[in-house]
Symmetry: C2
Subunit: 470 residues, 2 copies
């Protein structure tokens, strides 16, 4: 394809995307297809000869679109936000166009330096501890997901606890990790991947607000130490996936500090709230942690993937992850004057992801981002007030930010009916969890274009579904 | 930003990308900036108020472009190809625009089904073993990198060897992994991450062509078994990063089969060659392997990231990687009728990466892809013939496909001078490795737009640099 043809086709794709956002509310939010239906519509084998690009775009419209669940619809309230924005989309376009590899500073200096720079900006913007700045002993890196950030934290903690012996000799079966019973599934996954074993992950009890109980953590640590085990890693969550619970970081950090246990803080979903000074108290105690992550690809208008991972001691992380073969040696690396991000995560290759983040921050500005975050929290609080005021419904957990966990008082069955009914209607989409062994509906408000009218309509749908299911 | 403004700005970005490709040959291939220079040009803190999008594009041109090493330049011969194409860029654009999460089938059915479908296409296109088809007991998934594919293979192997006990109780220190002394650094990294330990990774000797010696593997396996250890994983490489060496898969597979050891085949760089029937012999014995990967994001015109990972037994992989929290439960998953790719890798979230792969395959067609691959191999073979014919230079390894390892006969110092000189000239870019303890230059030919004239000019540059350094 010539650059001239790309000008034509690429602009048609831009128009297609703009059209998509103009009409996204007209689609059923949840795809209404049956398993296998999309595949059945696709050609059985790859074409021998090339096809015109127009055919692909026709098939996207005709075959793919019906199988899309519209995460960018303002009526999407499921799971967690995975919001995006036009400046971010253009960042992705440029990143794809440049097609550079940022594995080493030397393989594209701007890719590394812009990333370091923007991650330092975010330390200021969220008022994170100064030890996470690249100008200190720590630093930040873009990872694909919080799952991988957690894995890297587990690994760096494992190596610190064993004086880098696990990397050499393998795990010894004595290490114990801790998180709350409400933590994200990726913590268990990371602990298993790292060879620690699920049995050596303690799921600490939570309080009435689904936050980790520091005294329960302390008691468990003491029991494990008494049994000759080595506690090495605690993961706290700021904004659990299930109910947006906030673990008390400061109290937990004190316990970790006394015993030299690595403290990781997973704020994947809620960290973005700290853009606004009034929500920064969620980070209380963060200066005592060893690592931290939050996801601009969730609630900061930045395309997936973009998780920001910070460590207080970058040398420990690098020592854990680095393998340097001859074919990657270069003068810049050997000078010690540059950052090589390949040593900060599992992958070697890496895209130029800082571009989209830079675009989003500059296009919105700090005040623009604050405005949208505040608006989402206000909408969620308004929704929570409607739930509170309705005799048939109740809140199932505190709603500190933009997630409201609620349920119909009529029991699990009616809540399941409500969810199925509103999702099948296509008018909106929400998902569920279980809290205190009860089915709970989750209203997650954070799509870029969600306004009061969408939330009002969602509440109306939910009440109508409840009436129809009663 | 309104859809209207996005139409305007997005089209300007499309033009910027088209302009970039039209003038990419005019840039020095390797960025000529000093460490810290890019950062020093960037604004110290994030803007309070938003900025017009035009400012960002001006800064991309003025501040970022000088810090780019141009992987998409036809004069880029460094490391490995990371080639892209306009259809792939448009796939990325659409994926960014739709902004869907493909972690579960239910979170966007088309994202999962198109991926399964295209990975089945590729089994046909590369004539891979039928056991990798989704209609068999195996299947394929898009991973970000071969590093993560290798890690998943190590983990699935670890679990199979311990009857899924390592996931539960942690590693026991008895497992031993094997790869060649020429394997990619990601194998060592994966073994360390998985808690096996570097000391339990045996680097098997290679023959004169830098391929693993099956008899050396067999002898090492016997020694380890005699010592009470448990061999669990062998990684063979088809196309080593250093010199494009091809391990003898069939002979190694027989040894693995006798001892029930997992065989992973890493064809990240060279697997694409199997699009052409005349190169398919590299895959001889692949039907005896347990897992396989190759990277369309290297040599198949598809934007990073896009690694295709296949397993013969998908249930083993899923059992290794799956953690199912309540908030991800859904009827489609429970019906057993769908694939949930989150259970096939480390990450939970995932982008719609199948779109770009589908676009590339359809736009080029199988014959179009074959044409380009053949052309790259021809160019490399022509380059190798020039090296052979020149009394000052010699080949340093066989050049079976598109990578030529060569050196000036004058010793390491002159080769280092040649490399530094051609790279600093900006006219071309190549990188090095060490083979038999000698510095070797690597000419990797695989950029989408590289033609004979670029390779001819590169050879001229290299000879001129040699003359100037002598």
């Amino acid at each position: 394809m010539t650059p001239e043809e790309f000008r034509r086709q690429g602009k048609a794709v831009v128009d297609w995307i703009a059209d998509y956002y103009e009409k996204v509310e007209s689609f059923p939010v949840m795809a209404q297809v049956k398993p296998g239906a999309i595949r059945a519509s696709l050609s059985k084998s790859a074409p021998r000869q090339g096809e015109p690009f127009e055919s692909m775009m026709r098939d996207v419209e005709k075959l793919i679109l019906p199988g899309i669940t519209h995460w960018q619809s303002p009526n999407f309230f499921g799971f967690f936000p995975s919001n995006t924005s036009f400046p971010s989309i253009m960042g992705e376009m440029l990143s794809a166009g440049l097609g550079v590899q940022g594995m080493l500073w030397a393989t594209s200096p701007a890719c590394t330096e812009l990333e370091t720079h923007v991650l330092d900006w975010l330390v200021q913007m969220l008022d994170l501890p100064r030890k996470f700045l690249s100008t200190s002993a720590g630093g930040g890196v873009i990872q694909d997901t919080a799952s991988n950030s957690s894995l890297c934290a587990v690994l760096a903690a494992r190596e610190r606890a064993t004086r880098y012996a696990s990397n050499e000799r393998g795990c010894d079966g004595k290490l114990v990790a801790y998180t709350s019973a409400q933590a994200h599934s990726s913590i268990e996954k990371g602990v298993k991947i790292a060879g620690i074993g699920r049995e050596n992950l303690r799921l600490i009890d939570v309080d009435g607000n689904f936050a980790m109980k520091p005294e329960a953590l302390d008691a468990q640590l003491q029991r494990d130490i008494a049994a000759g085990r080595t506690p090495f890693f605690v993961c706290t969550t700021l904004g659990t996936t299930s109910s947006n619970a906030m673990d008390p970081v400061r109290a937990i950090a004190r316990i970790c500090g006394e015993r030299n246990v690595w403290l990781h803080v997973d704020a994947a979903m809620s960290g973005t709230a700290a853009l606004c000074p009034e929500f920064r108290s969620i980070h209380d105690g963060l200066e005592l942690s060893d690592s931290y992550c939050f996801n601009p690809h969730k609630w900061m208008f930045t395309n997936f993937d973009c998780d920001c991972f910070y460590v207080a001691d970058r040398n420990g992380l690098i020592r854990t992850m680095s393998v340097l073969p001859e074919y990657l040696r270069n003068k810049a690396t050997e000078s010690g004057a540059v950052v090589d991000y390949r040593d900060w995560h599992v992958q070697l290759g890496r895209r130029f992801r800082a571009l989209k983040l830079w675009f989003v921050i500059r296009y919105y500005g700090v005040e623009g981002l604050q405005h949208h975050i505040r608006r989402h929290v206000e909408l969620a609080q308004e929704f929570a007030s409607w739930v509170r005021a309705d005799k048939d419904f109740e809140l199932a957990a505190p709603a500190p930010l933009n997630l409201v966990c609620f349920r119909h008082r009529g029991g699990d069955e009616i809540n399941q009916h409500i969810m199925d009914r509103v999702n099948q209607s296509g008018a909106m989409y929400l998902t569920h969890t279980r809290l205190r062994d009860k089915l709970v509906l989750r209203m997650s408000i954070g799509q870029t274009n969600t306004e009061l009218r969408h939330v009002e309509r969602a509440w109306k749908c939910i009440r109508e579904a409840a009436a129809a299911s009663a």
